[in-house]
Symmetry: C2
Subunit: 110 residues, 2 copies
DNA sequence: CATACATATGTTTATGTGTTCATATGTATT
DNA sequence: AATACATATGAACACATAAACATATGTATG
């Protein structure tokens, strides 16, 4: 650490760091994407709006597991839903998911 | 589930799902981004190449903690490093991190 | 209104993860 | 070679998390 003097460089780095809160939110959102099940749900919804039971069958998992994960996706405002009789039809909240996924795939596929 | 007949829709969804492996890799990469400490390290490196001790001081954390996290970032090929005497200077492996972060921030800031 | 169906929620359990502490490795300097 | 400094690594612990199970809520239909 160069004689402990002249830490302007580090000072600038610290000064220009994003707010703690922003960093926390960023990490939180990535955390939602960090589970295979949730990614699979999102990939399914990228193709078509689906009811909970359709997702459940598509992924061959418990209805409870899917429902719990949908909860997280809702909280993160990544999916929305509308009611159709007994069914809840889930869909992607916006196009951001696709964009983020595609960017990330670029990193993987090289 | 419409009389259990005509599940063409679901069949198509299942058929067009990305490979398990791809989904797993995607989730794994997001997992790397899902921790505040790692995000802070990456944000710091977005501004300047830094030695381990510089990162350590910038984030006010243990050298060990930083080193462990740098290991994950290395494994994910998100950072690289070069040696300068006793120091290891870390830097971002490519521009993908910035791109991904910016896309994700767009989702948060709306 | 009772029943069936779709979905959500609470709890438990097994597994994963980040940090700390202690210590090892690796590099320069005298 | 011995010492100091920079970084990495292994183990332990505290905490988070995903899935399963049981059950509750909510909605339509007879």
């Amino acid at each position: 650490m160069e004689h402990d003097v002249n830490c302007e460089k580090m000072d600038k780095v610290i000064e220009n760091m994003p707010d703690e809160e922003l960093i926390y939110n960023l990490a939180e959102l990535f955390k939602v994407f960090s589970d295979s099940t949730r990614v699979r749900i999102l990939c399914a919804l990228m193709q078509s709006d689906l009811t909970v039971s359709e997702i459940t069958k598509s992924l061959s998992m418990t209805q409870s597991a899917i429902s719990h994960q949908l909860r997280m996706l809702k909280q993160a405002r990544l999916v929305k839903f509308r009611r159709d009789g007994k069914n809840l039809i889930y869909s992607l909240a916006d196009e951001h998911v696709s964009t983020i996924f595609n960017q990330t795939l670029e990193h993987i596929l090289e």
